[in-house]
Symmetry: C2
Subunit: 196 residues, 2 copies
Amino acid sequence: MTRKGATLELAVLGLLHESPLHGYELRKRLNLLLGWTRLLSYGSLYPALKRMLRAGWINEVTTVSPGVSRRQRIVYQISPAGTEFFSREITDAGPAAWEDENFNMRFAFFSRTESDVRMRILEGRRSRLQERLDRARTARGERAGDRYVTELQRHSIESVEREVRWLTELIDAERALKGTNPQVVREPITAPTEFS
Amino acid sequence: MTRKGATLELAVLGLLHESPLHGYELRKRLNLLLGWTRLLSYGSLYPALKRMLRAGWINEVTTVSPGVSRRQRIVYQISPAGTEFFSREITDAGPAAWEDENFNMRFAFFSRTESDVRMRILEGRRSRLQERLDRARTARGERAGDRYVTELQRHSIESVEREVRWLTELIDAERALKGTNPQVVREPITAPTEFS
DNA sequence: GTTAGCATGTAAGGAGTTACATGATTTT
DNA sequence: AAAATCATGTAACTCCTTACATGCTAAC
């Protein structure tokens, strides 16, 4: 099936992989992690958590000993099924991985990916942007009418070009890394941050 | 009311303002004009045209003399009500104008806007991005964990900074222009391009 | 004559927002 | 004691995409 919109679900699983969290905190972290243009709303997060509960990817752990705060909260933790799903999805380097909505999230979890997967995603992303660039460049020549339109097109093209250069640097770095160390780069798991 | 999603409608009206067009051609031009990340689909354009017909903003002009091609097409032209609506919306320099989805479109039609409106939209857009930047910058300090996450944040911040610089240049240019010529900058209307 | 591109649509469904609703806890 | 922020949710609605359906016309 490979639901197109598993972005949110995957990001949640990725965060819960590090430490259990409750909804409110999850939302804050998601907004920091992925530079979403609009902030993620509760109306979108909470239903997603319910869906994930039903799917068996996460478990509800109603607060036992909340530590500092005596405020009751619903804490979620990732289940084995969730871990399995996350790993499977994160391994997939298909077109979905380099689409606009997914790419940032995939990149954010690159530490949990094999080097080849990273490469294929970065290269896929780059050629996607390259296509867009080609279209934009030919379009520019055609109608040199309004000066604001022209300026907008110029700036858009420059932005995408910059993005492409960034990807090229990353690809080169990845290739260099691959040469020296063919293994997966495993970051040491940081100690679960205490959510206050 | 100020429907949030009038973006598409406004863009269509803006294009029809220059010359009557049929749906297929409209879609192509919209995709060029606004650098939408995904191409606009027919499933979104055609229903929008129907809505606009019902609203009385456009008229259907089933092809009379198609010129070069003898292919029958449904050509739309803007109505007085549509012109009125477009002018009213394009004059509004409220928050909606500098949101992500709207800003590019508004900018593309800047030639049909007063200098003060342009200024307010550019400045609104800039402070919106500035806020985003502040949030991102403070976020960055907190968790210097994963190197890919760090790189993503660095790059995002740099992109927004670049955007802010661009807006600043535009604002300065606009201010200089305002000093010399307080009137609206009217581009000569380019001759309606013959759609083949 | 067949393929590629032109041209117009509809139906079902996904993903998320806004607005509403409620209440606890912490800070001032 | 009030205000801010934490915390969790639901319902209605919007906008768009995908996939389907259909047929014309130009070029090879």
